[in-house]
Amino acid sequence: MSNSVAQNVRTFETHPEATVPAESPLAWSYHHSGRPGVSAKSCVVLRERAMLGHMILRGGAIVLDEAVRQVLGVGLPARPNGLTRDESGERSIQWLSPDEWLLIVPGGEEFALEAKLREALGDAHYAIVNVSGGQTLLELEGEKARELLMKSTPYDVHPDAFPVGKGVTTVFAKSNLILRRPDEQRWELVVRRSFADYLYRWLLDAGAEYAIGVEA
């Protein structure tokens, strides 16, 4: 379960081989606050994409770009606040800060991916940190999704200011999260585990007038 590809850093496979019940950060919220159904009136639909692999990449852009390109077939976003995805749309890389990117991949891929990246990176200065247990991804869709965001974040979410392929870390209600726009229809919210319930309750409350529904 452990691996020391780069000897000096201890990587760690967090997933059990056996089948073990896992709970998303919203398990308690679904139990406690429920999931309002999606109806014809729902102008906003909320969907959790739980149990994905989330990793933080730190280092120089040029070196990381090469390694990521080699391993994932898609490079780092060329600009600050950029978001790129591979062809399947299942794997994404987002600029977080000048030497920091967020990699999101299907759950379970992260350990092998880290090993491959470390191999490709060799002696370069970089860090890779698995944060999969610490965050979850929510999707918002629907004609009122943008207005719901306007209730929540001071960031400008108008399409002129927030085109597809952009992602930011920003204030959201009294917390913060990563907000991104992978395509025309959807907004993605990457939220921290411990704040997930607060944000879920916020979204249900602010979304009530849009008959927000939660897709199971």
């Binding site: 000096n8 760690f12 967090t14 019940p21 308690w28 406690h32 860090a127 247990g133 965050q135 585990r193």
Partner: protein, 1016 residues
């Protein structure tokens, strides 16, 4: 409850109200009727209600003066039920709805018969400015008594005592251009910008957009001006790049073009938002606008003239008279006298005449007025008295006459014999003051403009003003000005403006305005009838004169001494007149006297709108761990630690009774000391540190040494600020040669992360190291107690042999089938294992522990037990036993300070200062109360001699104190001056109730002083 169905002052036709829709409402207990489209004020006037309030200080009867936000008198309390109470609503801004219930905010027992008015009548000499200060502040102890009655007499509304059933909202908006005010300049500006494709927000505080165009006599493109306004609004509404916000007041202009707009969304529909599809929409919404550029098209407020008894009901602004007639179809009286200094106000007389009521006279301060409207009035045979003004209103509860005489405004003298004209309404106009409040919020001082006799806004970068807001009162010029200002604003953003054909305005000849503020009286100001300057705050011309005589020469001082422009009024009507009076008394010009500044908010905003949805369960984020549901289901009481909800203790039901905190904690403590307990420690901050220089970095931020910590080992570390004071502590594990996992206190996590980044980014960027928060990624489960090994061994493949897995080691393996890192560290002094697993699997591991733990009576414990157990071991909590003034030396932790490390770590320099080397610093010690039953109070002060005269020299205080179940007596940690050298001495703790506790200074390690139990 009497009922009045007639609306004696309602015209048969005209105005924008819908006479087919009759609405009933209640004011001060009486039922009335109005129409859809009315404001509460227009409906009250239609019903002939003269007195709407009592004045703040003198309790004089007051009526409606204005038709908009500048109304000083008609402040009402809304709400038919307790929960729906809303104070300080201007009747002029409250749209009428069926069933509206309102009351005057002042007046006790009621507005018609008022106890306080006696004080007001005796008035002047008894209540000069500074009256309250001078009269009631001495003796100081009595102020609270006086105040209760003063407040009762002069209430300013009250807040509801029940929960508000409504919800409120915020909406963050961004735009290229925010246009405030949808009058002629605002509309042409918005249209210009919108046609160019810019993102535009246009807001207006009134029910309908259009501003002065809605009641103007003037024509645009040969049609009533309101029709042009409607066309423009329709065009704007159809555009995607435009947001139109009616019923929305721009209340505050903050830094960087951040403007707060208060939109009243349902207040025109009812006192509580009506349900829509089972959901109650937000009653009002705060739009938090970040604008590229801002255009102020806020128009102007008409300035009343200051004459005797100008506050008696029936004294109105000239423009308000026109607005009530033309917009609401209401004539607020029968016989009008108009007192004016300008041409524009003549429209009030023309409108009044057209409404079929009598214009007694127009009293014009100018010698030879000759504008077009003047000619029209003459042609109708209206009497015009030139070179004169209304000196004084007659009447008590309603105007009954106007004393008129010729005056010399410049010499401030009455020059002729006064004549009394019988009338019931006096309209006055002293010109127009641009509404410069919002520009003033930015800190820009207004500039006096002699041509328009008013202040115009000075503008910071990115702010523009257009039309009346900058003194351009002519309609044609205002329309053009709005469009040009929008083009300028867009040019500043490198955006292009659209093209616009301005509507045609018929040219109208207008004569010059003369400067008249306070009207002279035969008697000196201090002796004559009261001439009100600020009606809301009851400030008179005499008060301002007196203030200047008492030496208050700065206008800011005059304001504070007299209360002019205070409160919700913010000087809308009175400020310019007040400055003019101060200028006259001080023999200066108005610009020399200067102006006070206007503050947010422009009009009152409900707390609900400010709070938005940040209330009740959403007031503050609550952070939960992965085991939260288990804690809730097992009856945990929770404690707030930062934003985390941590289990505080787990009370059990014993013989049908729930344990108290003390009972539960004693049981939980003994379970850990004698069996095994489990703690959810997931909230501890965790930072993953990687890089070839990680070890070096740790050596610089921690006081102790990190050079030789081997992979597989853990070390406790102390972190100081650069002043040498303890900041945070925790364990850091060496995962690999270049890889560490740092833990921090729960509350200190974010601060430590920032601290590491700060030093790395600003001081040591050459170090190759990165920090990533993994607090939420890992869930942490602490299993501790003599039985911990046996329990854990059942569900792990890790070799727990005490020689293989020693204290301060960590190992990898599986716990309950889940990959885990297990750290043998102890905050209890017992054998302990901290298990880290990926948080999504944590609940499974937690439950598995309990499945196996039953036979060991595995006991969940919370933060309170954790605190007791660590205190028994003398382990500190940063932030409880330290307060930013405690060094590691003070804590007796010399063993954790590496003075000989090659690189000077943070705090080292400070720890060699004479002050930090003093031997009489407050040092951490243990206190053992002489009486074993006593648990000292945390925060209690420590003295050496209880018989010393008061004030006794205090030598320290208790930082932590608990009852120790295992020891059978109270224990405490304390800081005491020179405490390390006072072992065995007796100290005293005098309590508030007179008791004095006695305690012995002992080592801070109370239990297992050799530390053997954690090594077993």
């Amino acid at each position: 409850m009497s009922q009045s169905l007639k609306q004696p002052n309602r015209l048969r036709e005209g105005g924008r109200v819908d006479r087919a829709r009759t609405l009933s409402f209640t004011f001060n207990g009486t039922r009335y009727q109005g129409h859809a489209g009315d404001t509460l004020a227009s409906a009250l006037l239609a019903n002939g209600v003269d007195i709407v309030n009592r004045s703040f200080k003198y309790s004089r009867p007051r009526g409606i003066v204005a038709a908009g936000a500048e109304e000083p008198n008609a402040l009402v309390q809304l709400g038919s039920t307790e929960a729906a109470q809303v104070p300080n609503v201007r009747a002029t801004q409250q749209v009428l709805f069926d069933g509206l219930t309102a009351q005057s905010t002042n007046g006790w027992p009621n507005v018609q018969r008022d106890v306080m008015s006696l004080v007001g009548k005796l008035g002047g000499r008894f209540m000069p400015p500074g009256f309250y200060y001078k009269t009631f502040m001495a003796p100081a102890s009595m102020w609270m008594t006086y105040e209760k009655y003063i407040r009762k007499g002069a209430g300013l509304g009250r807040s509801p005592m029940e929960n508000d059933p409504d919800s409120y909202d915020h909406l963050h908006q961004h735009c290229d251009l925010l246009v405030i005010g949808a009058g002629p300049a605002g509309l042409s500006a918005a249209q210009t910008a919108a046609r160019g494709g810019a993102r535009v927000i246009l807001c207006d505080e009134q029910e309908e957009m259009g501003g002065s165009l809605l009641d103007s006599r003037e024509l645009l493109d040969h049609q009533p001006a309101a029709q042009w306004a409607e066309r423009v609004i329709d065009e704007l509404a159809a555009l995607d790049n435009v947001t139109l916000l009616a019923r929305t007041t721009a209340n505050g202009y903050h830094d960087h073009h951040f403007v707060t707009l208060h939109e009243r969304r349902t207040e025109h529909l009812g006192e509580t938002a009506p349900l829509v599809d089972g959901v109650r929409p937000a009653r009002s919404r705060m739009h938090r606008v970040r604008a590229g550029q801002v255009l102020l098209a806020t128009g102007a407020h008409e300035r009343p003239l200051v004459y005797g008894n100008n506050d008696v009901p029936g004294n109105l602004l000239a423009g308000a008279v026109s607005t009530y007639i033309r917009r609401y179809g209401v004539v607020p009286g029968n016989r009008l006298v108009l007192s004016t200094s300008n041409d524009h106000a003549y429209r009030a007389a023309l409108d009044w005449d057209e409404a079929g009521r009598e214009v007694v006279a127009i009293v014009d301060a100018r010698q030879a007025p000759d504008g077009e409207w003047v000619e029209q009035a003459r042609a109708r045979g209206i009497r015009i008295i030139t070179g004169s003004a209304v000196l004084e209103a007659k009447g008590d509860k309603r105007v009954s006459g106007a004393r008129v005489a010729t005056i010399d405004a410049e010499a401030f003298k009455v020059t002729g014999q006064a004549e009394t004209l019988a009338c019931d309404t006096i309209a006055s106009s002293g010109g127009y003051s641009p509404v410069i409040h919002l520009a003033s919020h930015t800190g820009a001082r207004p500039i006096w403009n002699d041509e328009i006799l008013g202040f115009v806004p000075s503008l910071v970068k990115g702010v523009h003003a257009a039309g009346s807001a900058r003194g351009i009162h002519d309609l044609a010029e205002g329309l053009a000005d709005g469009s040009a200002a929008a083009a300028r604003a867009l040019a500043a953003l490198d955006l292009s403006a659209g093209t616009l054909e301005l509507p045609q305005v018929d040219a109208r000849r207008e004569g010059a305005t003369c400067a008249l503020y306070q009207v002279p009286h035969e008697k000196p100001t201090l002796r004559g009838p009261k001439q009100f300057v600020d009606l809301q705050n009851d400030v008179t011309a005499a008060a301002i004169e007196l203030a200047t005589r008492e030496g208050f020469e700065s206008i800011e001082h005059v304001k504070r001494y007299t209360a002019m422009g205070f409160g919700t009024d913010q000087g809308k009507l009175g400020n310019i007149n007040g400055m003019a009076i101060a200028a006259r008394c001080l023999n200066r010009t108005i610009p020399e006297v200067g102006t006070t500044v206007f503050r947010p908010n422009y009009t009152p905003v409900t707390f609900g709108a400010i709070a938005g949805r940040h209330c009740r369960e959403l007031f503050d984020p609550e952070r939960y761990t992965a085991m939260h549901q288990w804690h809730v289901e097992h009856g945990a009481e929770f404690e707030d630690v930062g934003q985390w909800k941590r289990p505080w203790y787990f009370p059990k039901n014993v013989n049908g009774k729930l344990e108290t905190l003390d009972e539960a904690v004693a049981r939980e403590c003994l379970a850990v000391r004698q069996g095994v307990g489990v703690l959810d420690a997931s909230t501890l901050g965790k930072i993953d540190i990687q890089g070839p220089d990680a070890r070096e970095f740790l050596g610089r931020v921690y006081t102790n040494k990190w050079a030789k910590l081997a992979p597989g080992r853990v070390r406790y570390g102390l972190m100081c600020k650069d002043d040498g004071m303890l900041m945070d502590d925790g364990t850091t594990s060496c995962l690999g040669e270049n890889h560490f996992l740092m833990t921090t206190t729960t509350g200190g996590a974010a601060g430590v992360m920032e601290w590491l980044e700060l030093w790395h980014q600003t001081e040591w960027p050459e170090l190759d190291v990165t920090f990533t928060s993994v607090t939420d990624h890992w869930a942490t489960i602490t299993v501790t107690g003599p039985e911990a090994r046996k329990l854990l061994a059942e569900i792990t493949d890790i070799d727990l042999d005490k020689e293989q897995f020693k204290f301060m080691d960590w190992r990898e393996g599986k716990v309950a089938e889940v990959p885990a890192r297990v750290f043998r560290i102890s905050f209890t002094g017992e054998l302990a294992y901290e298990i880290n697993v990926q948080a999504n699997y944590a609940m499974h591991v937690w439950k598995t522990l309990f499945a196996h733990g039953e036979k060991y009576d595995l006991t969940p414990y919370g933060t309170e037990t954790m605190h007791v157990l660590r205190a028994e071991k003398g382990l500190i909590i940063a932030g409880q036993d330290t307060d930013g003034s405690v060094t590691p030396e003070d804590l007796g932790m010399h063993w954790a300070i590496g003075y000989d490390k090659p690189f000077p770590w943070i705090g080292k320099r400070a720890l060699s200062r004479p002050d930090t080397r003093r031997v009489d610093r407050k040092q951490l010690v243990g206190l053992k109360p002489r009486d074993p039953a006593v648990v000292l109070e945390e925060g209690a002060q420590i003295v050496l001699d209880p018989d010393h005269a008061i004030p006794m020299p205090m030598v320290g205080h208790v930082t932590s104190s608990y009852y120790s179940a295992i020891l059978g007596h109270g224990i405490a940690l304390a800081v005491v001056k020179g405490g390390h050298n006072r072992m065995g001495e007796t100290v005293y703790l005098p309590m508030v109730d007179g008791q004095v506790h006695e305690a012995e200074i002992v080592s801070n390690v109370f239990y297992d002083p050799k530390g053997e139990r954690q090594h077993v």
